[in-house]
Assembly symmetry: C3
Homo-oligomer: 138 residues x 3
């Protein structure tokens, strides 16, 4: 059985990192399935999904490492071609990836105690984001 | 219901980046399913899948960042052991990952307008690549 | 049809890299399904899953690159807040990601000949790890 949900999120951009675990848990409860997989997919090419221990320190550390390896202030071809300022956003999003698949068993996500699902919005301005939660289960 | 497709692709290697979105869309149309998830998986350990805005600038920016963090010209243990020249290809492929799961709803992939599915072939020579598209839907 | 398996693994931590392909293959055989997808998910926020050619050289190269871009000896906010020593572990795990989806066809994973599924434990001590293998197939 397949249940489609859309999670709507407001972000502030600039690596704003949102804990979407409660929204995903709610989607699983509403789908009323015992066991399966939720495939999460963020629509757009300047945001990404992963998991982390959602506390300010670890979130800040991840942001700092990404700033080091893909700095915001650098030359990007994407800027030269399109007059944009978010070349780093595209590269960071492609590195982390837009999709995440999380099993659920007994109606609960199989996350660790200190493991949360996050959306990072790398764009340079606030955005309305959509995360598709496609739930396949029984 | 499960439908298996194989996408065959010729690449030029050396971070050749191919937009496989049209091939994936065709697979979804042929499967004739309304809603579900397509799991894409590239066979082999020197290529990867992700999404990006598929335009020359952003593609080039991603390649340049990967060259900076995983340079082609460097010492790799893989070379010393096997006489290969593609140590960087293995590392880049492992970092980005071989699989991507994309929901479809109403027979259409839930991609953003400027978001395309790409295969990057990090190997140092042209290759024939196979991407498995496993479609689970109803 | 959905079959849930749990793979229990002992790791030594410190980027210990375990080839879990045999365990995943065994789970597929036990599930006795012909075609589908196995979604693998590592429970916890300091380990990750990907694929690589599992030989000492390539594994060592990946570890060295991760040490370069996310060094163990550096300042992490996570340390300051929690007195931990594994800030790098959290960042590396978030970069690589906790989930991997691998199709199987004819009862076999669609891996390349030189492509293995690995668990990397980035934590700074030995751990008992659990990887959930959620098998959806027919």
């Amino acid at each position: 059985m397949i249940v489609s949900k859309k999670l709507a999120l407001s972000t502030r951009g600039n690596s704003d990192t949102v804990n979407i675990t409660p929204a995903v848990e709610r989607a699983i409860v509403e789908a009323d399935l015992a066991s399966g997989v939720v495939t999460l997919f963020v629509v757009g090419s300047t945001a990404a999904l992963t998991t982390i221990e959602y506390e300010d320190g670890a979130v800040s550390d991840l942001g700092r490492v990404l700033e080091k390896i893909v700095p915001r202030q650098a030359e990007y071809e994407h800027h030269l071609r399109w007059g944009d300022d978010n070349g780093h956003s595209h590269v960071r999003a492609a590195l982390l990836g837009p999709s995440l698949s999380v099993p659920f068993v007994g109606g609960r996500l199989t996350l660790g105690t200190w493991q949360q699902i996050i959306l990072i919005d790398f764009d340079t301005r606030p955005r309305q984001r959509e995360v598709v939660a496609q739930i396949i289960g029984e």
